[in-house]
């Protein structure tokens, strides 16, 4: 599974850092960045939850 954040949509609402800190971290300005792009299976559920929680729907989760 692969995750990405659409920088046009992210507005640093911080939901993803809290839901899945292993995958998302804030950059220096507080915007979300993906620190683990290709996810092991045990993180799939967390990634899906983070994507669902993002108020801007900025997180894309794809099968690979």
């Amino acid at each position: 599974m692969k995750v990405s954040v659409d920088p046009d949509l992210c507005e640093a609402n911080a939901k993803c850092f809290i839901a899945a800190p292993e995958i998302f971290q804030p950059d220096d300005d507080g915007w979300a960045q993906v620190i683990l792009e290709h996810l092991p299976e045990e993180l799939h559920a967390k990634a899906v939850r983070a994507a669902r929680l993002c108020p801007r729907l900025a997180i894309k989760v794809e099968e690979e």
Binding site: L9, E11, A12, R52, R56
Partner: protein, 435 residues
């Protein structure tokens, strides 16, 4: 305790979500519940054009009442666009609405929406809001000190309305002596369907077209005064550079081009309206919810660590923005209903926020509710830009109220705004005992 007593014999034929007076009595949770259970994507008729042509016709809209459907539509801003109006009845054909369509963030579609939003969104992130906390707390203290000097004790006009007004006016560099004007004009534009804010009395209040005419005239008058005010403000900013949000807009460029005066004007118009009406109603609606559920107030008093989750529950339970509309750009299907190109859909946020499939005991006001992924701010492309400020203002206000007053009681009926767009309270007398 719930806010509505369900009518025993309400049927789908009784559904009426365009009559402002129904909303003036109470939020129609009984209607939304019926729709969710029996026809969650249902066509709702609009109104005819008047003979003199003064009131434009409005064909109607699909009522969307389920949580998942509202997310699905919000997730797809290419199929469901905002630039043909976001309020039921405001059509490109109607003069008052047409003026702003496509020119404000809220009525704009991607890709321009993304670019324009980026000009200001840095100032609204949760991190940016934290920098404002001490200022919000200072405003709140001043408001509550003033409140104690007064004897009318209208919680809405003296407390709930003032904090968000102070914050947005502060950000936009609007002087304190103009706050009253901004409050009155906001009421006129967003409360136009309520007789209290209308300039003229509708000749025959049973005549839908006549009432529609009065509403549109009231909005128009409010718009004119608002634009005059901001027109002068923009000119003043151009003359002597200032350090506020209006200046940011003036100095901004999109694709190398500065914004036009008209775009800046509409930006200011949107910021002032959105910044002061919605949070006002979350605060007064939240206060009323606590009056109706005193055990929850006691719980919060005993444990202020519940403030963040109480704030989310106020937002879910009140959902101050009642709907937004979108227009379909292609034929599409939702729950077996054929939505045709050009059809409007109305997203009923308070309904999504009481969807039993998502929120157990949805009609119960429970400040410890978790999870609480409500849609009070919308979701996706048009997610409320001011959500962080709203959350902070609500939370600080209740924290300071509880610190200052050992007892707060309702001292008369809450008068509701007759509007199907804003779930508002106009007046609510309260009694207090100082701590």
């Amino acid at each position: 305790m719930t806010m509505t007593a369900d009518k025993p014999n309400l049927t789908l034929e009784d559904i009426n979500l365009i009559e402002p007076r129904i909303f003036g009595e109470k939020p129609p949770h009984d209607q939304w519940k019926l729709l969710r259970e029996q026809d969650p994507v249902r066509w709702h008729d609009g109104w005819q054009q008047t003979e003199d042509g003064e009131v434009a016709p409005f064909r109607g809209f699909w009522s969307i009442t389920k949580y998942d459907d509202i997310i699905r539509i919000s997730r797809d801003p290419e199929t469901f666009i905002s630039s043909r109006g976001i309020v039921i009845g405001t059509e490109p054909e109607s003069a008052t609405a047409a003026a702003g369509l496509g020119k404000m963030l809220i009525t704009m579609d991607p890709p321009r929406h993304v670019r324009l939003r980026r000009l200001v969104n840095k100032g609204f992130t949760p991190r940016a809001v934290v920098a404002f906390e001490s200022e919000i707390r200072r405003y709140t203290s001043e408001i509550l000190d003033d409140f104690c000097q007064k004897d009318t004790c209208d919680f809405v006009t003296e407390v709930a309305a003032i904090l968000p007004l102070a914050v947005i006016c502060g950000m936009m560099g609007i002087a304190k002596e103009d706050w009253g004007k901004m409050f009155a004009l906001t009421n006129k534009v967003l409360g136009a369907s309520d007789p209290e804010f209308q300039d003229e009395v509708a000749g025959d209040i049973e005549d839908v077209a006549e009432r529609r005419r009065v509403i549109e005239a009231t909005v128009m008058q409010g718009n004119i005064e608002m634009f005059q005010y901001f027109g002068q403000s923009i000119a003043a900013h151009r003359e002597a550079g200032k350090d506020d949000l209006v200046q940011t807009l003036i100095d901004s460029k999109v694709d190398g081009e500065p914004l036009t005066d008209e775009e800046i004007l509409f930006f200011c118009y949107l910021l002032i309206l959105a910044g002061n009406e919605t949070t006002r109603n979350a605060i007064s609606g939240g206060m009323l919810a606590f009056f109706e559920n005193p055990d929850q107030l006691q719980k919060l008093r005993a444990n202020p660590a519940l403030l963040p989750s109480a704030t989310e529950e106020i937002l879910r339970y009140i959902s101050p923005v009642t709907h937004m509309t979108r227009a379909a750009t292609r034929d599409t299907e939702l729950r077996g209903k054929q939505i045709k190109t050009g059809d409007k859909v109305a997203l009923w946020y308070p309904s999504a926020n009481r969807d039993a499939h998502v929120f157990p005991d949805a009609d119960t006001f429970n400040i410890e509710r978790s999870p609480n992924d409500h849609l009070a701010f919308g979701i996706g492309e048009h997610f409320c830009l001011g959500a962080g400020f709203a959350r902070m203002e609500i939370s600080v206000m209740f924290e300071e109220l509880l610190k200052r007053f050992s007892k707060l009681e309702q001292d008369g009926p809450a008068e509701r705004l007759a509007s199907n767009f804003i779930g508002g309270i106009k007046h609510m007398p309260v009694k207090y005992t100082r701590a």
